[in-house]
């Protein structure tokens, strides 16, 4: 067995190292381009300069898009929590006939192609006469982020020790008191993971926003996408790098709170 494992071990190790390089390469390249002193985003980058960040961060369109994406992500995440935490409690603690089916139905937007969801919503909003791009984007993003909250919160609710809740109830705690002081602290990691996932999903969403962004209401991923076709200097790389930084922050927060591996297992 020893011989077997070291035999495959050599190949597996080398191959895995190559895959890690492959996985990180495009992101590292974007980061490298963003600090290039060259006028064109071509390889190899030359010199070192932060002027593209200077340019990008003083561009009103970029700041506006960044602010829009952040506020939509924050509002959509909050709305998903308000809907998702009670729904999770209903499904796990007060199951009713067909609650399993309902749970799968609520998770459906997760596996349904976002491009089609966005297209269908565009038609719905047009027919309903809803032309407020911000409101439309927000509603769509609630739909997209809600299943993440539902998934992480139900997963952590299932793991809660119900005997602790019963003990608190026996000792005279009210229904809400039990939830506030016994259940909530135990599902906090799940809620936190749900918040991070929901926020970054909304912040990075492209396929739904593609249909719903308006003339003055352009989320950040759409803006970067538009710039890809029009700007050939490293400013696009700087914009993309800002998005990488926000993704990296999400990675650190998830790893620090619940562990990336556990959240991925959900």
């Amino acid at each position: 067995m020893k011989a077997v494992s070291s035999d495959t071990g050599w190949f597996v190790t080398a191959f895995t190292a190559c895959v890690v390089v492959f996985v990180l390469a495009p992101i590292v390249i974007v980061l490298a381009m963003s600090v290039s002193d060259s006028e064109l985003a071509i390889f190899p980058p030359s010199g070192f300069s932060l002027r593209w960040y200077d340019a990008v961060l003083s561009e009103p369109d970029f700041i506006k898009a960044l602010g829009l994406s952040a506020s939509i992500a924050a509002l959509a995440t909050s709305a998903s929590l308000v809907l998702g935490i009670p729904a999770s409690i209903g499904l796990v603690r007060y199951p009713f006939p067909g609650s399993r089916v309902v749970q799968n139905v609520l998770l459906l937007p997760l596996v349904f192609p976002g491009l089609i969801t966005g297209l269908a919503l565009l038609k719905l909003f047009a027919l309903a006469g809803s032309y407020d791009a911000f409101l439309n984007l927000l509603l769509a993003h609630v739909l997209v982020t809600f299943p993440y909250v539902l998934r992480t919160v139900t997963a952590s609710l299932v793991l809660v020790d119900t005997s602790l809740e019963e003990a608190a109830r026996t000792l005279g705690a009210s229904q809400f008191g039990v939830f506030r002081h016994v259940t909530l602290p135990q599902i906090m990691p799940g809620i936190f993971a749900g918040v991070i996932f929901a926020f970054i999903t909304s912040f990075d969403n492209f396929v739904v926003s593609l249909w719903l962004s308006g003339a003055g209401t352009v989320p950040l991923p759409i803006l970067v996408f538009q710039h890809l076709a029009t700007a050939f200097d490293p400013s696009v790389a700087a914009e993309a790098s800002v998005m990488v930084a926000i993704g990296a922050l999400a990675v650190v927060l998830l790893e620090w709170s619940v562990g990336l591996r556990r959240t991925a297992a959900h």
Partner: protein
């Protein structure tokens, strides 16, 4: 006595009912959201795919299958379906081949190695697809200043730059990158459930490392493989950013065709019909994949 007992029974039943009612109350707002913003518009889209285009950007009765026959009978459009299926199949297969050694490293590696690999694999999932695809645009650029061309030219491997951008190959490369983690995770899950004693037993009985892999590990990892294949296939088939940025006209797929039909041709019924074709294709393939997930090897491994 009897009345007390009846009361008690009545109380349990009514309390169970009130508990169920509480469940409905808690779930109702979420159901309204999904019903109103997901089922209603998606069903509307399906209905629209049978509508007749009126030539002024609107559509209505009579109901027709013309949008579907236009799709399947026009070679230009049916070839986009074939490209979509081809690119998705290659992406799923390439991801599986690349994912196996990595999943083995995650499962069999030491604690630190396994943790590092997992983070390196999952972390890119939290970076926007637009950013990652832009990275591939820089790497695969057809000019001598594309990263890959520059490296190969300077190493003397090629004498003139390769043309990878704006081909199906470019879309496959970008899609493998985006969806690889979703192949590695179920595969690692499946491999992790195989007791190491199985491989040890085979090795003790004289099987070579390759024989152990092909005849023990591989068949037992089938549920994870099937889950990963159907996941990567369906996500690639319905992707937009990859084909749009890397594909050009050669790599046009159903997602980009739908966008084009809405944004340039304003043909909503036709776009809806393509969307229905796309979703049906993905759903059929997923249910086939699902059948393999619940197939025999899982029981043996578990």
């Amino acid at each position: 006595m009897e009345t007390t007992a009846d009361n008690a029974v009545g109380r349990t039943i009514s309390s169970r009912r009130s508990v169920e009612r509480l469940g409905y109350v808690f779930v109702a707002p979420a159901m309204i959201l999904i019903g109103g913003l997901f089922f209603l518009p998606v069903l509307g889209l399906v209905a629209y795919s049978f509508a007749t285009q009126d030539g002024r950007g609107g559509a209505g009765l009579p109901a027709t299958l013309a949008n579907y026959s236009k799709f399947f009978e026009t070679p230009l459009y049916s070839s986009v379906l074939m490209t979509t299926l081809r690119v998705s199949a290659w992406t799923a297969i390439a991801s599986a081949v690349i994912a196996y050694p990595v999943a083995i490293a995650v499962v069999r590696g030491g604690v630190i190695a396994s943790r590092t690999i997992t983070i390196a694999i999952i972390a890119p999932l939290l970076v926007s697809v637009v950013v990652r695809t832009y990275g591939w645009q820089i790497i695969l650029a057809n000019s001598p200043t594309g990263v890959l061309n520059w490296l190969l030219l300077h190493a003397g491997v090629i004498s003139s730059p390769l043309r990878i951008m704006y081909t199906e190959t470019a879309v496959v490369v970008g899609s493998v990158h985006v969806f690889l983690p979703l192949m590695i995770l179920p595969l690692a899950g499946s491999l992790g459930r195989i007791p190491p004693s199985f491989a040890e037993a085979a090795a003790t009985l004289g099987a070579s490392a390759w024989a152990v892999f092909w005849r023990v590990t591989f068949p037992l990892s089938f549920p994870g493989l099937a889950a990963g294949l159907s996941l990567v296939f369906s996500l690639t088939a319905s992707s937009f950013v990859g084909p749009r940025i890397l594909g050009g006209t050669d790599g046009q797929m159903l997602g980009t065709l739908i966008e084009q039909q809405v944004s340039s041709a304003y043909d909503w019924p036709f776009a809806s019909a393509i969307a229905v074709v796309l979703v049906s294709t993905v759903m059929i393939l997923n249910s086939i994949g699902q059948r393999y997930v619940t197939a025999k090897p899982h029981d043996k491994a578990g």
